[in-house]
């Protein structure tokens, strides 16, 4: 016991001594910033190479270019989502952003409780009342939504034109309305350029785990490649890493999602369907700074450059100029509204 008491005393002294150290450059309370922005990430957090990282990039760019002050919070469990948003709102942030559709309920509630704070939700899912009419979000809440089906449509056409085997593949993550949007757009794009093509489509599962299962992704992709598929589009988070692995192993092609995934398997990534979360977040912050922020539903599609496909010096040798021209023509028809891409089954 004597020894333990001594240990207690020693630790106490050490702790109290360390409390008085103030390293140079320690954060002083922020002052003189025009705009304060708070961002709460989804449970996946940063490092997902997808929308969390996209939101981070957008906010960071705004910090540098617009001189705003950004605070990030990474929640640890379910109840932390509301807690994180509330901490930021209570601190008097000008704009509070929740990243991921799972923030929908919490954002709606907080926007009502803090009518003078502005809120934005990436992938916010807009509710419909029983008669099917859209319930608009509160006036101080911007729903940042993406037309994933439009970007998927273009990579569908790309897969059919480059694949040449009348069979193309799709690997989804969690079987859910959000991912079905990717699949429906993809199917429509394939049918547009190749009416007698078959789409082999499989999902990795029905739980969020299905977004984190590269083994399953590889298994599905290998079986699709063996059935004569030459190009697979994945919309499955890190499950897609297995799809790239399978492409490398069988010397076939895969299409990435959300961000440019060329570096995951150089030479085997035909293109990526990119989702401009960074641009949407940057846009929302810029509007707050310029005093032009309005609540409501914002749709980021091809017309707004919110979605698109990658065509750069890395992959231009994989995509023949004729195919690229055809894709650009399809893009213009969608932007002009002559082609309407379906988004549900």
């Amino acid at each position: 016991m004597r020894k333990l008491l001594l240990l207690v005393a020693a630790l106490l002294v050490a702790h109290v001594a360390l409390l008085f150290i103030h390293p140079a450059g320690a954060a002083a309370p922020p002052a003189g910033h025009t705009i304060d922005v708070g961002v709460v990430f989804d449970l996946g957090g940063r490092g997902d190479k997808s929308f969390n990282d996209g939101a981070y990039l957008g906010a960071e760019r705004a910090e540098k270019a617009l001189g705003v002050q950004v605070r990030f919070i990474e929640p640890g469990e379910g109840s932390d989502r509301e807690s994180g948003l509330r901490l930021l709102a209570a601190e008097g942030m000008d704009l509070v952003i929740g990243v991921g559709f799972i923030f929908t309920d919490d954002l709606t509630q907080l926007a009502r409780e803090y009518p003078n704070t502005k809120f934005a939700g990436v992938d916010y899912s807009v509710a419909t009342d029983p008669s099917g009419k859209v319930v608009p979000p509160p006036a101080n809440l911007a729903a940042l939504k993406f037309r994933e089906e439009q970007g998927s449509y273009l990579v569908g056409a790309l897969a059919a034109l480059v694949g040449k085997s009348k069979k193309v593949g799709f690997v989804g993550g969690m079987d859910s309305p959000l991912i079905q949007k990717f699949e429906m757009g993809y199917r429509a794009g394939v049918k547009q350029v190749c009416p007698d093509c078959i789409v082999l489509s499989q999902y990795a599962g029905v739980t969020p785990e299905a977004f984190r299962n590269p083994g399953k992704g590889k298994e599905i992709a290998l079986s699709q490649y063996q059935q004569g598929v030459n190009v697979i589009f994945h919309a499955s988070g890190s499950t897609g890493l297995g799809v790239f692995e399978a492409a490398r192993q069988t010397n076939k092609l895969a299409i990435g999602v959300d961000a440019d995934q060329y570096s995951e398997a150089p030479g085997y990534v035909l293109s990526s369907m990119v989702k401009g979360v960074d641009n949407a977040v940057y846009d929302a912050i810029r509007k707050v700074k310029d005093g032009q922020f309005r609540g409501g539903i914002y749709q980021y599609g091809l017309a707004e450059s919110g979605v698109g496909y990658v065509y750069d010096k890395n992959n231009e040798r994989l995509i023949p100029p004729v195919v690229h021209a055809r894709l650009e023509q399809l893009r213009q028809e969608i932007v002009a509204g002559r082609i309407v891409v379906p988004s549900t089954r």
Binding site: L5, V8, A27, G76, S79, D105
Partner: protein, 379 residues
């Protein structure tokens, strides 16, 4: 134990002990046991604080400022304190569940899925109950449903251990995967509201929030489940230290062979302990389902089950200790959000790990469990 060992019994009987001397030694031994209960967690806490200081310095921040922010964001205002209470409520239930197992010499790693199963069953019952029943009438039904949900998940490893000697650590770990996958499957295929990961809201029987009584708690999720947690602490203390079943359970935990020799049926104690343990964890699901969101959501209390193991160890498997440990871990968890601007959230995870490691190496129950495991491995 002394009755099974004739030499000890005789020595004790032969030595004349004057009443005064025994009172003195009583007081001394009580003081020693209090010191033994309080000092190791204190050392752990201070050790974590010092490790935290060093980590904060390595991020180029000032420890004083970060700790002040941590306290301000938790105990420093009504909302933060409410969040601490809310998180502690769930942890009390999972902590008590694990502690009951430890008292019986069983390591229940399954609180995570038992908690989820309890919340799930309560939400299902809530969807079936007609709207408008008074809360007080529904509450027993909800408690029963949650206890059944968690209890069934706990009973499986209990029966497997009692009947076939399957090790409860392996079974409860594996059941976590199975049960969580099953619940997620049911939710995401049958029960979810489109575009979300949760079920529809329950119609009746939601519990009042603390902010309904004390308005300054506005926005915090703390709710009347706190009272249930306090009741559970008292009930478990009564069960363990004041009933015959509780005595049998502790006897099995201390020395199963001796207990068996004394006439205790070890098998029934085992499966009963794990079932009750699961039921307690299951009731913890009400904190979220009845008190906070009023629906079951996938992963609504991720980590609370595993943190319950830490709560039970740091709380020395005693209800009062568990209450304090739950407050400590809840404070760290909520405080992690408050200091997230200055240091990464993972710093708080490291602090929790230091507390757990420091306590785990000094707690007699853990040493005994490890010894037992080694002995059974040798055999």
């Amino acid at each position: 134990m002394s009755t099974t060992d004739p030499t000890i019994a005789r020595v004790g009987g032969d030595t004349p002990t004057p009443a005064a001397a025994s009172a003195v030694s009583d007081r001394a031994s009580r003081r020693a046991s209090i010191e033994e209960a309080v000092l190791p967690p204190l050392v752990a806490l201070l050790l974590a604080a010092v490790v935290g200081d060093v980590l904060i310095l390595s991020f180029g921040q000032s420890p004083g400022a970060v700790y002040r922010l941590l306290v301000d964001g938790t105990w420093g205002n009504a909302y933060g304190f409410g969040q601490v209470l809310y998180k502690a409520t769930t942890l009390v239930f999972t902590g008590l569940a694990v502690a009951l197992g430890l008292r019986a010499g069983l390591f229940n790693i399954g609180a995570e899925s038992q908690l989820a199963a309890g919340g799930f069953c309560a939400a299902i019952v809530g969807l079936l109950l007609p709207v408008g029943i008074p809360s007080l009438l529904c509450l027993p039904i909800y408690i029963l449903a949650a206890a059944l949900g968690g209890g069934v998940v706990g009973a499986v490893p209990g029966v497997l251990k009692a009947r076939f000697g399957a090790h409860e650590v392996i079974v409860t770990i594996m059941l976590n995967f199975i049960v969580l996958a099953l619940l997620n499957y049911l939710t995401s295929t049958r029960l979810h509201v489109p575009d979300t990961l949760h079920t529809a809201e329950i119609g009746s029987g939601v519990l009042p929030r603390v902010s309904d009584v004390v308005p300054s708690f506005q926005g915090s999720a703390a709710n009347a489940t706190i009272l249930l947690a306090l009741l559970a602490m008292i009930a478990l203390w009564w069960f363990l230290f004041r009933t015959r079943r509780g005595f049998e359970l502790r006897a099995v935990g201390l020395q199963p062979h001796a207990a068996e020799y004394a006439g205790v049926h070890v098998g029934s104690v085992t499966w009963r302990a794990l079932s009750i343990s699961g039921a307690i964890a299951g009731i913890g699901g009400l904190n979220y389902v009845l008190g906070y969101k009023h629906y079951y959501e996938e992963g609504f209390a991720t980590g609370a089950g595993f943190l319950g193991i830490a709560v039970a160890l740091v709380g020395r498997s005693h209800p009062i200790g568990i209450g304090l440990a739950a407050l400590l871990f809840a404070t760290l968890s909520q405080g992690g959000l408050a200091v997230n601007a200055l240091v990464p959230k993972q710093m708080v995870d490291v602090l929790q790990a230091v507390v757990i490691l420091a306590v785990a190496t000094s707690v007699p129950e853990v040493r005994r469990l490890l010894r037992g495991a080694r002995r059974s491995a040798e055999r």
